[in-house]
């Protein structure tokens, strides 16, 4: 468990060597505007590297849940990528999960995923809405551990 917390505490730049292709926004992790959102930045960076999306949306939905303000624990992602062609929903979601394995095992408690091909996005360019929180994260010790990991 401690190893997992430390993994999340590393700066995003420590994870970039794993990517083989240069990013359009290679300095995204040093962008002062994203300085306050390291987890969101990491998610964006990793999904971009792994899936080369035609369209990507990363929404921090932590404010909709029973966690302190400023948390980065609950996210919704919309990924539009040709990588999903011919793949079932579960295969697509597993690709996303795999790209974000580190975050999901440390700071991210919930991840809502929409994984569309460019054709599907073209015919229905809509982002689903998350259901209202039912307070499950309040007093949930494993969420507190993840929040602590995200803060470090």
């Amino acid at each position: 468990m401690l190893a997992r917390i430390l993994l999340c505490a590393r700066p995003v730049s420590a994870t970039l060597p794993a990517l083989t292709r240069p990013l359009a926004h290679s300095t995204a992790h040093m962008d002062p505007g994203s300085g306050g959102r390291p987890v969101e930045t990491a998610i964006r960076t990793k999904l971009t590297g792994a899936l080369v999306p035609a369209h990507l949306e990363v929404h921090n939905e932590s404010h909709m849940h029973a966690v302190p303000p400023g948390s980065e624990s609950h996210f919704r992602v919309l990924v539009v990528s040709a990588s999903f062609d011919g793949l079932s929903l579960i295969q697509r979601h597993r690709l996303v999960n795999e790209a974000l394995r580190e975050e999901l095992s440390s700071c991210v408690h919930a991840l809502a995923i929409q994984a569309k091909t460019p054709a599907q996005w073209g015919s229905n360019p809509s982002v689903a809405k998350s259901p209202p929180c039912m307070g499950g994260s309040k007093g949930d010790h494993s969420v507190e551990v993840k929040l602590a990991a995200g803060r470090e």
Binding site: L89, I90, H93, R94, N97, R101, L104, S105, H109, A110, L111, A112, I113, Q114, A128, S130, P131, P132, C133, M134, G135, G136, S137, D140, S142
Partner: protein
């Protein structure tokens, strides 16, 4: 709940033959947590393997169908309710951290809720919702011999 009791009793029996110290069992149902103390993590994986096979529809959620504790888990419950599926096994991961961690490893899936149809892992809330919207869920239930209430409702409206 009967499934949990059966699983926990089975686990205890395995524990007693594997050289674990014998334990005086209280009269009445044995909690899953007590059984877990006696069993290794590998037994948890085996137990989960049995749990997902025991019922046609199996969900791992936060809370219960009567009182879900998470919006995404509630969405799964509501979708099943809409289809008239009320005979399914629902395991509350908030009751047991080992179960919560175990099912994530078993399914190789990082989040809750998790849905199993006919012993096969189908995905989480997002996938179930998309299957519901596309009509795939009606088809999958049909293959399992479960007639969705939405099919009946559609017939009646024609």
């Amino acid at each position: 709940m009967n499934n949990l009791i059966r699983a926990s009793v089975r686990c205890l029996r395995a524990g007693s033959t594997a050289g674990y110290p014998s334990m005086r069992l209280p009269a009445g149902p044995v909690s899953f947590t007590a059984a877990r103390l006696l069993c290794a993590a590998t037994d948890m994986q085996q137990t989960l393997g049995e749990m997902v096979k025991k019922d046609k529809v199996v969900v791992f959620i936060k809370g219960t169908p009567a009182q879900p504790m998470c919006g995404f888990s509630n969405a799964v419950v509501q979708i099943l309710r809409m289809h008239g599926v009320d005979d399914y096994a629902a395991y509350n991961v908030l009751d047991d951290q080992d179960l919560r961690q175990g099912i994530k490893e078993f399914s190789n899936w990082p989040t809750i809720p998790q849905v199993y149809l006919n012993s096969e892992f189908v995905g989480g809330c997002d996938i179930l919702l998309q299957m519901h919207q596309s009509g795939d869920l009606v088809e999958e239930l049909n293959k399992m011999g479960i007639r969705s209430a939405l099919v009946e409702a559609e017939k009646e409206s024609k």
